[in-house]
Amino acid sequence: METAAAANRKTVTMKVRRYVMPEHSELNYLNQEKGIKSWLLTRDHKRIGLMYFFTGAIVFFVAGLIALTIRLELWTPAKTIIDAHTYNELFTLHGTLMIFFFLVPAVPGILGNFFIPLQIGAKDVAFPRLNLLSYYLYLTGIIFTVVTILTHGVDTGWTFYAPYSIKSTTAVIPMTTGIFITGFSSILTGLNFIVTIHKLRAPGLTWGKFPLFVWGIYATSIIQILATPVLAITLALLIMERLLHVGIFNPALGGDPVLYEHFFWFYSHPAVYIMIVPGFGIIADLIATFSHKRLFGYWFVAISTLAIAFLGFLVWGHHMFVAGQSMIASIVFSLLTFMIGIPTGIKIFNWLATMYKGSVRLKVPMLYALSFIFLFSIGGFTGVMLGALSVDVQLHATYYVVAHFHYVMFGGMVIALLGGIHFWWPKMFGKMYSETMARISWFLIFVGFNVTFFPQFILGAKGMPRRYYNYLPQFQPLHQLSTVGSWILALGFFIMLGYLLHSLIKGKKAPANPWDARTLEWMTSSPPPTENFSYTPVVIHGPYEYQRPISEFQLGLLSNGEHGGDELEVEAPSGGNSPEMANV
């Protein structure tokens, strides 16, 4: 895959000239085709990205409301507003929605779909119709889940552990079927991106020249391909266990419930990397852009991304230290879990080094990027702590774990997603948002997040178990503090909804490149036309060469019949994929 071998490297001469796309185009992907059918049956990756955005935002909103309800219930030790069975159903739903229907699909679906083709200078992804199918599979999975809620609910927790998931009288089968279907969406999206990144890169765009966001999506896609099928078979087996009593997981029939956990976590641990690795890509791009400095250690960051994707497959047993796993397995898993902190640490230091002596602009996307580094570091450290066997015996299934994963998932991934949305908003919609309101919203979210989740570390260390409806009175003050934090968070998000909607309706028109970036998506209009570029881009520099003039990033092949232009020696993308070579 890498162009390390000299044999792979070949340069060709192409005739190029500068193309300047208009800053705004009245006719763009949003309005070039009209009518509801043109949206529902679209093959445009940008429109599909928006559909994911719309759906994902609704899922996040619903799951967020559930979270607020949960936190409100926990205001008092006994019943506050709901009964215990409902509480179990609510946290199951919150987890399932957030993980399977928001975090896993969101960044690849929204930002990946929208920007991968743009960043590599392609017209679309490799399989646009498959892309549309991916979206509808995602939607179908959500519908199954909605049906589940409206009929019965599920109370097993998002992990559906055997044997309770086998015995529970709630709607386990419909919900797992919904997740199964959405899993296919994830697989097809990953497949699409891998082929796109391999085959559709613009001339000159070698593996060492594309933005880290592309590396992030690439690594994520590999994980999606390899891990999700195992989830699929696990859920299928669970359904068979409930329907046909096959006796694979059910201890009453001689099956092994720990085996269920092995299969489940073989997917679900890499799944957390599916969730965060795109975020790593976003943050790298944000930090480089807003430090106006080349990313420090490009290849270290790129390779460590792949390393995390790989190592992430070898650590799943750290969720099972107290489940009855053999001691040997636990020791091996603990060691591997420690190791996975290394590539992550490499990235964090490279990002910090990027900022050093850079020209840092604290625009809102950068505020989110900096928050990410702080919050994800806390989340990551506490993960390593949980990876220590003896410590985990105390902390497993306590609020410490809840705090840890919210710090990495929310403080990490959601913050990165928000940073990405604020970064790419002008490109997607051609509008700017109010910087002031965005700063206020960011501040509330940052403060609210820490007030909500930091006390949970303390609660957990003091022994408060997770998923518990009741608790001992001494935990109440911290629980109440956490609940107040959730209100601050909610306020931050409502303000965000406000100014983003306002931006759509009345926002200032955005220029093509408001952030003075150098990657290809900024070389086309805001919003882009349906075909992305009116020319075939040719890339001669890396993605973070801010010292070079923008004109050198606006080069494209001469179209048929054109004469003149400059001759340029360009390194062909590895494998000679770009057929433009044939045209020279």
């Binding site: 083709p117 392609a122 017209k123 679309d124 992804v125 490799a126 399989f127 646009p128 498959l130 697989i187 990953g190 497949l191 699409n192 891998i194 082929v195 391999h198 085959k199 559709l200 391909i225 390899l226 891990a227 999700t228 099928p229 195992v230 699929a232 078979i233 696990t234 299928a236 087996l237 068979m240 266990e241 046909l244 009593h245 096959v246 006796g247 694979i248 029939l253 001689g254 099956g255 092994d256 085996l259 299969f263 075909e531 570029f533 009116s534 020319y535 075939t536 092949l557 179209s559 048929n560 019949g561 994929n577 770009s578 057929p579 433009e580 044939a582 045209n583």
Partner: protein, 218 residues
């Protein structure tokens, strides 16, 4: 974009975001191989369950396997291998622009698939008549090992999932035959035939492993 580049005479099947048919064909093949990779991990979970349960209850697996008919297993295998050959021959035919021969080979592949399914159904019914049901419904008295039902649960799960894949493949054969009849494929463009072939061969490979795992344990 350079419309000049898609200059091939048969570029009507080339989508606008690809530059030429060659890139599109390569991309489709790569995509199918990645999908096959996911199938390996999907089935692989069941193989993993098999390996683990067999390591726990070896005798149950030996006895269970002896209760199955090796010759039927062997015949099923020969059937699928032959179908892989006819599928490869179908691809060869379309590569050399012989549409009629392609349809014939696809048809034979379909029929062989149907025989396979039929053989399975008969085998399953025969097993049921002896009480060899999966899981808690297991009622066969012929094996003394108390964990024999695990063998049969896995047997039905794995051959069942495999059978579903064969049925899907048969559906794809019909679709390909219809499209070939309508003149959609030629030596210039036969990508769906090629990638369906890849799928069918993988289904054959899975059975190649299911044979020793279930029929030849002893």
């Amino acid at each position: 974009m350079s419309d000049a580049v898609a200059e091939s005479r048969h570029d009507s099947h080339v989508y606008h975001h690809f530059v030429d048919a060659h890139q599109q064909f390569d991309a489709s093949k790569m995509g199918m191989w990645i999908f096959l990779g996911t199938e390996i991990l999907f089935f692989g979970g069941l193989f993993a369950a098999y390996i683990i349960f067999r390591s726990w209850y070896p005798q149950a697996f030996i006895d269970g396997s002896n209760a199955l008919d090796k010759l039927v297993g062997g015949a099923d295998t020969l059937d699928l291998i032959l179908s892989s050959l006819t599928m490869a021959l179908a691809i060869h035919s379309i590569q050399t622009n012989k549409q009629k021969l392609t349809i014939i080979y696809l048809g034979i592949t379909f029929v062989l698939g149907a025989f396979f399914i039929g053989s399975h159904i008969m085998e399953w019914l025969d097993n049921f008549s002896h009480g060899m049901y999966p899981g808690s419904a297991y009622a066969f008295k012929g094996i003394s090992d108390s964990h024999a039902y695990v063998f049969f649960s896995l047997y039905y799960l794995m051959t069942g999932l495999h059978g579903i894949h064969v049925l899907v493949g048969m559906g794809l054969m019909v679709w390909l035959m219809v499209k070939t009849k309508r003149g959609r494929f030629s030596s210039e463009y036969f990508t769906p035939v090629e990638i369906t072939g890849l799928y069918w061969h993988l289904v054959d490979i899975f059975w190649i492993f299911l044979l020793p795992l279930f029929y030849l344990v002893a």
